[in-house]
């Protein structure tokens, strides 16, 4: 994927209000051909509204939305060029996988014969051959999710919108689905991925955007964003054998560590610029019962906590000043 690729979808200065509440304000986003864009944000941030706007279900109060150069609200062709994979397994459970694919291909505008060949092709591409003839309700969660995605791409859309595509799926199945999505993106399909699985987004997304207070900001590749926000700082995690007493707590705080509320009172987080710095600081904890400590590159979870003002970990002060580095 390169930014010189054509724009598949664009939201320009989009504003959308529900009665008494502005959901999206001055929102700008461009999705480039063949990229996987991860859209992140807490519940209620407006991600579902953004999907509905993109699919033409809602009309923005102001601004412009274009999918392949056309307004999806007015153009059936624009909507036909999109595929949506909802969060639920949105399939006809009494139909087989193949029958579902044919049905959704036809509902997306394909003629019957074209729909049939597209369905068969999609089944091969998505690795669904072994379950093609089985009713959906007989399949495991992982296969259902895979079929769910297949129904979203059976009509070969140029833009695929995925809302939590692997929720409730075990790790091997999740990795297989991620592999499938990566392959689709490499074949030129643009993917808008909405997920709370930050590791997954980090693995898949070429670019990531955080929906904060109605706008998508910051936007960038995961590496860029992490560099911009944490500028060479590393996440330093210390795990204690037991909950620390007041004196130990004071010592940990003096070393720049904060309790991680998500992990419990024995987990403390801080920021360091190198392994050596962490090792030096750990010497001051020789008399404290430390179970384990480690230093790692901060991930999107750290950025999430920083952006959405989650209390606790020591990485929640983004080093914005270092963004130009």
């Amino acid at each position: 994927m390169s930014l010189s690729e054509p724009v598949v979808a664009a939201l320009q200065d989009v504003r959308f209000d529900y009665p008494g509440q502005t959901v999206l304000a001055e929102l700008d986003l461009e999705l480039i051909r063949g990229e996987c864009f991860g859209l992140l944000g807490p519940n209620g941030a407006g991600k579902s509204t953004l999907i509905k706007l993109l699919c033409g279900r809602l009309q923005p109060a102001s601004g412009r939305i274009l999918v392949n150069g056309q307004n999806p609200k007015l153009s059936a062709a624009a909507r036909r060029s999109m595929g949506l994979v909802p969060q639920q397994v949105a399939l006809y459970r009494h139909l087989s996988v193949l029958e579902n694919l044919i049905a959704f291909a036809q509902l997306s505008g394909c003629r019957r014969s074209a729909a049939r060949s597209a369905a068969k092709q999609t089944i091969r591409r998505c690795g669904l051959t072994s379950v093609a003839q089985r009713p959906v309700h007989e399949l495991s969660g992982g296969w259902q999710r895979r079929a769910n995605i297949a129904c979203g791409v059976v009509h070969a859309p140029s833009l695929l919108v995925l809302d939590e595509p692997t929720v409730g799926v075990d790790l091997p199945a999740r990795l297989e689905i991620e592999h499938l999505l990566a392959e689709m993106a490499s074949n030129g399909m643009t993917i808008l991925l909405i997920s709370h699985d930050l590791d997954q987004v980090e693995r898949l997304a070429d670019r990531v955007g955080f929906l904060v207070r109605g706008a998508i900001e910051p936007i960038g590749s995961p590496a860029e964003l992490l560099k911009r926000f944490f500028s060479g700082r590393f996440e330093w995690r210390v795990m204690l054998d037991q909950a620390p007493e007041a004196g130990v707590q004071q010592l940990l705080t003096d070393l720049g560590l904060e309790a991680d509320p998500a992990a419990g009172p024995m987990h403390w987080l801080g920021a360091v610029h190198s392994d050596q710095q962490a090792s030096q600081r750990m010497r001051k904890l020789e008399h404290v019962a430390v179970k384990e400590w480690r230093v790692r590159q901060p991930g999107l979870d750290a950025l999430w906590r920083a952006l959405f003002d989650q209390p606790g970990p020591g990485m929640n002060q983004p080093d914005v000043s270092g963004s130009s580095a």
Binding site: Q87, L107, G109, V161
Partner: protein, 413 residues
């Protein structure tokens, strides 16, 4: 633990206000409607449209008409025979056959003295409403026994007078005294009324189509058809709610067709499904009971298409209005039961109280049953069926439009 389960169930119901209202408001409402509908079958509150023609024009017959007018539950329409039209029989039969009257009373001869005819009063009924004829005959017999107890004796006296020669003045005076005494005793309730069966001749009309059917088959074929059209359409339409919660509708709404395609497609399927159901019922009625299905196929088809469209779109509208499956199931059951009870699918409407009969015209059941019975029993043509078709068609269109509007609203939610 059981209490916890109870609490969870209660909270589920309490927080689904729509389902709560439907679960507790509808049953008593349904009871009231059913009580009104089925109370008619006991004769209480019955409102029969009775046509009457008085061909004898005697004092006795005028007295009889005055008395009939006082019978509870009889809506009497007296035909004007002043124009010298003698064919009262045909006129009355036509009214009954067309369904304009539930039964008819024809006073064809002088009650007390004309003994040449078999019976001076003829009660005409339609075999599809055999109960109406029985009720009219019974009420009339009661009336004659109560208010005209000397009628049979007077007729016997006339017969003896003809066969055995005229009475002497003394005999005549004695007879008059006896008859007057009987009248007086009847008035005080002391007399044991004589049977008056010979005064009334029941006459059951057969269908105009010439098919050997007692009218019940064409009635109940239509009544059951529209009942099951509504039932199965409601069940099918509830899949809209399932598809909403499963995300299928979201997926389809994002496609080129949008909300309209989803709703219209489902409605169309239910319409076609209904058409097949109705075909099966009438095919059986043709095969087993011999109704003239093929002879009237064109008229039947129009009615079947419109009736199933009506049921389909009413069901889609109900599903579009409901937010949860529980709401939709309760609402659907309530609607089907109410419409079928009032509309005559469970009991003929002529047995219902008058206000309920009128209310029945607001249901698709009543119009569909009327149309099918008109076709197969009364032999009606396009020109007589257009009103039923118009009502069924327009209400189907209205329900379709509302369903589409509601689906657009859902898409924007």
């Amino acid at each position: 633990m059981i209490l916890t389960v109870l609490r969870i169930m209660w909270l589920g119901l309490w927080r689904d206000r729509g389902a709560l209202v439907l679960a507790f408001l509808f049953p008593p409402l349904l009871f009231v409607v059913f009580a009104e509908v089925f109370s008619g079958s006991t004769g209480e509150g019955l409102a029969l449209n009775i046509a009457l023609a008085d061909q004898s024009q005697s004092g006795f017959s005028r007295q009889l008409i005055d008395s009939i007018e006082t019978i509870d539950g009889f809506e009497l329409s007296v035909l004007d025979l002043q124009g010298g039209l003698p064919a009262a029989d045909d006129q009355l039969s036509d009214l009954v056959r067309r369904g304009a009257a539930d039964a008819a009373i024809w006073v064809r001869a002088e009650l007390s003295s004309d003994i040449d005819s078999d019976a001076p009063i003829v009660v005409i009924g339609d075999s599809s409403k055999a109960l109406a004829l029985a009720v009219v005959q019974g009420r009339l017999q009661g009336l004659l026994q109560q208010e005209f107890p000397a009628l049979n004796v007077a007729r016997a006296v006339t017969l003896v007078d003809i066969l055995a020669g005229p009475y002497s003045p003394e005999q005549q005076q004695l007879l008059d005294e006896v008859l007057a005494e009987m009248e007086a005793e009847a008035a005080t309730g002391e007399a044991m009324p004589e049977p008056v069966n010979s005064l009334i001749e029941p006459r059951m009309l057969q269908g105009a189509t010439g098919v050997d059917d007692d009218g019940g088959i064409s009635y109940y074929a239509g009544a059951v058809a529209i009942l099951f059209l509504l039932f199965s359409a409601m069940q099918g339409a509830i899949s809209l709610i399932d598809e909403r919660s499963s995300g299928i509708v979201d997926r389809l709404l994002a496609g080129p067709g949008g909300a309209g395609v989803v709703v219209f497609g489902k409605g169309l399927f239910l319409n076609l499904q209904g058409l097949v159901q109705v075909s099966l019922i009438f095919a059986l009625a043709w095969w087993v009971y011999g109704i003239d299905w093929f002879g009237k196929f064109d008229l039947w088809l129009v009615t079947a298409v419109l009736a199933s469209a009506n049921a389909a779109w009413l069901a889609m509208l109900t599903a579009s209005l409901c937010a949860t499956r529980q709401q939709a199931q309760t609402a659907a059951a309530f609607l089907v039961l109410i419409l079928s009870a009032i509309g005559g699918s469970m009991m003929p409407r002529f047995l219902m109280p008058g206000w309920l009969r009128e209310l029945g015209w607001l249901t698709p059941n009543a119009w569909a049953i009327e149309a099918w019975q008109g076709i197969f029993w009364r032999g009606q043509s396009w020109s007589e069926l257009w009103l039923a078709w118009l009502v069924l068609g327009l209400t189907a269109l209205l329900a379709m439009w509302l369903s589409l509007v509601l689906s657009t609203r859902y898409a924007r939610a």
